[in-house]
């Protein structure tokens, strides 16, 4: 009994003391760390961003606190103005943009690719057409010995196994890129499944995260799934070459992904480059973006902080690009950099232009 009483009293003291001391601390923090920039969003470019931000911190002392909570979370936090910038793998659609109090701009930072990988004996490099991919993920092709698959890969000795589809169970930009591609190449997919970060999958198992899907595929003989490019090399898994619009089988790699963006880009950079028109481009490629309010006063506390933020992004799309390739992201093509420069120059704080350059 005595013990219980003691515990209750002590815990109350700790609780109330903790409460009191929290306040002055948090006030100090906001004063001290005025140029701590806070961002949140996409997990897909997170390895690259954390590398870029730590290098940038080394150069300029500007601290960037980026939380990889997912693109959807990034957009939500931008709309509620709790972060200085957001990041997303799927550009905001008109409906989402309409919800914002002020206009929002997108700035691409790099390109990523989604690869199709599988578990087959001998790890062959398969050739797949959009039609076959759609049919497999719709559950219409169920065996590896299917005529269409063998027709494109006459040299591969396929086992008589059923195909087990593995997809992402968590909402993700990777799923968006994949379903965006399939919606473009297959009208049946577009009607019955559609594009989105979370989907109503007609067949298959869900794995959590890229690593979850890759792990599932490695364990399951006869399985097929999709994940980000870097996970294929880090897990030593085979990837498929995919037939693109121009009729070439393209294997995923930094070059072919960069090529995919060699198309005419719109002025707001909100473009999907999946199923690209570029003849050498890998069709499952996509930009990933940072999102900012056009007038940064909407969510950024001071003009100084806004300047630091814009300078940081300027650095990311120029010098920062050198960090992309080692981490298996494709750097931005020149045209994308030029358009992004134009957007950054148009940014304002309280109606006044931020970049004087």
């Amino acid at each position: 009994m005595k013990h219980i009483l003691l515990i209750i009293i002590v815990s109350f003291f700790v609780f109330s003391c903790g409460h009191k001391s929290e306040h002055p601390e948090s006030e100090e923090k906001t004063q001290q760390e005025e140029i701590e920039i806070i961002g949140a969003g996409a997990t897909f470019p997170y390895p690259l961003y954390s590398k870029m931000f730590s290098s940038y911190h080394g150069l300029t002392e500007v601290k960037i606190n980026y939380q990889a909570i997912g693109s959807g979370g990034g957009i939500r936090q931008m709309l509620s103005k709790t972060v200085d910038f957001g990041a997303t793998d799927a550009f905001m659609n008109a409906e989402e943009l309409a919800k914002a109090d002020n206009s929002i701009v997108h700035i691409p930072t790099c390109l990523g690719a989604v690869v199709i990988s599988y578990n087959l004996p001998g790890k062959p490099n398969l050739k797949l057409s959009p039609e076959i991919i759609a049919d497999i993920f719709l559950g219409k092709i169920t065996k590896w010995t299917n005529k269409k698959i063998r027709g494109l890969n006459p040299d591969v000795d396929f086992p008589n196994q059923r195909i087990i589809v593995v997809h992402r169970s968590d909402g993700s930009g990777t799923s968006f890129i994949f379903s965006d591609y399939l919606s473009k190449v297959s009208s049946e997919w577009k009607q019955s499944v559609g594009r989105g970060k979370s989907l109503n999958w007609p067949v298959g198992l869900g794995g959590k995260g890229n690593q979850g899907v890759a792990g599932q595929i490695q364990q399951l003989p006869g399985s097929i799934g999709y994940f980000e490019l870097i996970y294929a090399s880090s897990n030593d898994m085979p990837v498929a070459s995919i037939l693109n619009k121009s009729g070439n089988f393209i294997s995923p790699g930094i070059e072919s992904v960069s090529f995919a963006a060699n198309v005419v880009l719109p002025a707001d950079t909100r473009v999907s480059v999946t199923d690209t028109d570029a003849p050498e481009g890998y069709p499952l490629s996509s930009f990933t973006w940072l999102i900012l309010y056009k007038d940064l006063k909407t969510n950024v506390k001071s003009r100084r902080k806004a300047e630091e933020l814009v300078n940081m992004i300027w650095w990311m799309i120029h010098r920062g690009q050198k960090y992309a390739e080692p981490l298996h992201y494709a750097p931005l093509p020149n045209e994308a950099v030029m358009i992004s420069e134009r957007i950054l120059r148009s940014l304002k704080y309280d109606g006044k232009v931020i970049l004087s350059k």
């Binding site: 968590d170 930009g173 970060k197």
Partner: protein, 299 residues
Amino acid sequence: MINKLAMNSFSGDQSFKFILLSSAAFILMLVAGIVITLYYYSSLSLSTFGLEFITGSTWDPVSGEYGILPFLIGTLLTSIIALVISFPLSLIITIFIGEYFTTGMPNTLMRGAVELLAGIPSIIYGFWGLFVLVPIVREFQILFDIAPYGVGIFTSAIVLAIMIIPYSASIGYEVIGLVPKELKEAAYSLGATRYEVIKNVTLSYSGSGITAGVLLSFGRALGETMAVTMVIGNSNLLPGSIFGPGNTMASLIANEFTEAANELYLSALFETGLILFIVTAVINILGKIIIKKFVSGTK
């Protein structure tokens, strides 16, 4: 002097009572707060779908159609199968520790092991399930010519069963320890065997306590997220068989919450949380009623 003492104890009593009251009120407010928050955020989904939210079997964030029947079934199936598997095991452990080896090395070892099981983070159970259990289950599935996914409702039920054993077992042997010695000795003196004493005296005396432990473990199984997500297969369709992939409500929320940017979608996920909360509450209340009946029945 006497007066002072009396004053002191009076004010001590008062403040102790105040602390007790405010702690109790705080807990109540916390629970009420959770219910209100869940209800508030799910109101959009509640008004849009009504009952169809529970009876619908399509979960399609793209077209904005949300029905949680597959997840409701998945949650109940995994938890019930887990309970069926874990109950005999935890009962045996209970009797082993509570009756046969109440002291000494075997007792220390078993107690330690059970307590350790309770302390292992769920992600480790998930890893173990994925890399050890799943290949074994797959071998069996190949043997019986079932689609060899390895992951699925049955696999996650096994993982859950192991996870919840400590909850029912530890309460079980605490309760068994409370059985009065006199009762057991009386039974022995009447010529009962050890088995008869355990069956007729120990278990029937501590029945309600053991049931309470089982219910606690069931509640734990309903809400388990991480370990389940890793081995259940995360298929958002109605489960075809218990060996096939499925999904649970907790796992669905954990999977889809981060990317739910649209209002209705988010609201549907909150309603899923609300229903999980209600299911857990209903099972707790049912359990209390069962225990009450059980206790009054033995009297």
